[in-house]
């Protein structure tokens, strides 16, 4: 890995990483909250399920683990983004719910009830 020797280097790297991330936005992205609370509620199973199912169905997607989003009451939680759409948050995502989300929200492109409204603003 290259050493970063200046802010200029860092900016270049950041811009490169950002455009790579934008490319990812052209596909389905599933972020699974994987902190202690999420894992304790079964987030690891949920994540594995998404990886396998999306792979089985040959859906171009990335499944990413993240930290806690703060919706502890609704763990496991995921943030799901589809190309051209605002990301949405689902709670209580066990494997059954995951299947439903894949079939209905991702594949059939239907609306799904039970989306948790984003209740905060972030700085970036």
């Amino acid at each position: 890995m290259m050493k970063i020797d200046s802010v200029k280097d860092l900016k270049n790297l950041r811009d490169k990483l950002k455009s790579a991330e934008n490319l990812k936005k052209a596909t389905v992205m599933v972020k699974v909250s994987m902190s202690t609370c999420g894992i304790a509620s079964g987030a690891r199973e949920t994540m594995d399920y998404f990886i396998n199912e999306l792979d089985n169905k040959a859906i171009d997607a990335s499944v990413i683990k993240t930290g806690c989003m703060g919706y502890c009451y609704a763990e496991p939680t995921i943030e799901l983004s589809k190309p051209g759409k605002e990301p949405v948050i689902f709670g209580y995502v066990d494997t059954k719910r995951a299947q439903e989300i894949i079939d209905k929200y991702i594949v059939a492109d239907e609306e799904l009830v039970g989306i948790i409204p984003l209740n905060f603003e972030t700085v970036n």
Partner: protein, 489 residues
């Protein structure tokens, strides 16, 4: 919609958005840009000035101005200085520091490097409890990746500033979160607090100047550097700037982590963000500041939350635990719960805390058993005040707070326990009575058969009654009765 967005995420800005095990995702969100900016364009003095101007105060409980602490450490002349991250988080019910380390470890690493540059330290230590294995693992990965890019190590950003971080493990003692005890623990000594002054900023780890800050305090730093102090200090109240992360727990619908601007009211946090009280019950109180804090009531719901208002209301900000209680919670039992915790966690160094808290606990226990007297209420208050005044460290100085604040806010509840042997919330078992409603009782004798201690007597087909002296309050009879004839009085 506007109503829902009561939260502003600064410390939690990346939690839930990036993969904490991949430094590139942090960099894509301007990670390490603040460190670069400081090293390339700012002097330590200018940086400290910026932090001072932001108004940031310590999020670990005390609320000490962060910029001032850095300046104090900087001013001491020494060959070696240290910066420490306090990730002990011992307050029961609090988990915001863990979430930050698990969700965004790089923000803490970056801030520690900035702190070291400002104070003149070359070594950083993260003191984290061994009970946080996932946070430790992610922190280790993050440290490794930061070294690979050269954000830690020698000549960071091509400057002559060198810095690295090591992890130190705590065994999970509440008192080790106190900064002097924490330093002793890192030195391999007993985790007992020492006398201040000298403060760690003068004489800390290995006798060298040491700047101790909390995880959440650190997580704010990169944003302040990048967005500017003037951006930050517009959020919050006059004396408390920015946001605070709370771990909302207890009888609220939406248990979880929230980050809200200082100055928000408890009502907004509990009812708008927290979704109100579970099962439509009535709000009774909220405990902030954990075992060191106090309870706040209905009367405080519209008080803007900041360091000073909470202290004036008889509680404190603490590290950010917020436990909501409803009508089924007994305030005497609640105070007893926290005292139980303090008795366990006192290091035992000084008598008022070691012995006094135990006595406080016993008095509370006596009251919940229905054996308290008026004199006990007087003793309780008296002893609580003495412990506060004569303990060495913050643990003992604040441990009676839950007792005092519940006595102040719910005097009638203490009186009822003592004078009428009644617990309004129905939580104190010893004060409950299972009573058979004569008119409703058909004399089916079912209860007689389930009672484990033969406390129930009566003729077949006639009303039964319960001998209160024998009854052990197991509730089996009430559960079995098909006619709803048994109630708690």
């Amino acid at each position: 919609m506007a109503k829902l967005k009561k939260q502003i995420r600064i410390a939690l800005r990346n939690c839930g958005f990036i993969n904490p095990e991949n430094i590139d995702e942090y960099i894509a969100r301007d990670g390490y840009m603040a460190l670069g900016k400081v090293l390339e364009t700012m002097s330590p003095e200018e940086t400290i000035e910026e932090i001072k101007k932001s108004g940031l105060r310590g999020r670990g409980g005390g609320g000490f101005p962060t910029g001032l602490k850095w300046e104090l450490t900087r001013k001491v002349d020494a060959e070696q200085k240290y910066v420490v991250c306090n990730a002990d988080e011992g307050d029961p019910g609090a988990f915001m520091d863990r979430s930050i380390l698990e969700g965004d470890p790089h923000s803490v690493i970056e801030a520690m490097a900035i702190n070291a540059f400002c104070t003149g330290a070359s070594k950083g230590l993260v003191y984290i409890r061994a009970e946080y294995p996932l946070a430790i693992e992610r922190l280790k990965i993050a440290l490794k990746q930061a070294r690979e890019y050269g954000f830690l190590g020698n000549n960071i950003f091509g400057s002559n500033f060198s810095f690295d971080i090591e992890i130190r493990y705590g065994a999970g003692a509440f008192v080790c979160g106190e900064e002097t005890a924490l330093i002793h623990s890192m030195e391999g000594l007993r985790g007992e607090p020492g006398v201040k002054p000298p403060f760690p900023s003068e004489k800390g780890y290995q006798g060298m100047p040491t700047n101790v800050n909390n995880v959440e305090t650190y997580a704010n730093i990169p944003v302040i550097i990048l967005e500017g102090a003037d951006w930050f200090n517009k959020i919050g109240t006059e004396k408390s700037k920015g946001t605070k992360v709370f771990a909302l727990a207890g009888k609220v619908n939406n248990v979880g982590l929230v980050e809200v601007p200082m100055g928000i009211t408890l009502r907004e946090v509990i009812f708008d963000i927290g979704g109100g009280i579970k099962d439509g019950k009535k709000f009774k109180a909220v405990q902030t500041g954990g075992p060191s804090g106090g309870c706040l009531t209905e009367a405080h719901l519209d008080t803007p939350i900041d360091y000073d208002n909470l202290i004036n209301a008889g509680s404190m900000m603490g590290s950010g635990g917020m436990i909501v209680m409803d009508e089924d919670d007994c305030m005497v039992s609640m105070a007893k719960f926290y005292l139980d915790f303090t008795v366990e966690e006192s290091c035992g160094k000084c008598a008022p805390c070691r012995i006094g808290n135990k006595r406080l606990y016993e008095l509370l226990d006596k009251i919940t058993e229905g054996k308290g007297t008026d004199e006990d209420l007087f003793k309780l208050r008296n002893l609580a005040t003495v412990i506060k005044d004569t303990s060495l460290c913050g643990l003992g100085q604040t441990s009676p707070n839950p007792v005092l604040s519940t006595m102040d806010n719910f005097p009638e509840e203490y009186e009822a326990h003592v004078k009428d042997s009644k617990c309004f919330a129905g939580q104190c078992k010893a004060l409950m009575q299972y009573i058979i409603e004569e008119d409703a009782c058909t004399g089916c004798t079912l209860c007689v058969r389930v009672c484990p201690v033969d406390a129930i007597s009566g003729e077949r087909k006639m009303a039964h009654f319960i001998n209160q002296d024998t009854c052990i309050k197991c509730g089996a009879c009430m559960e079995k009765c098909k006619f709803g004839a048994i109630y708690i009085g």
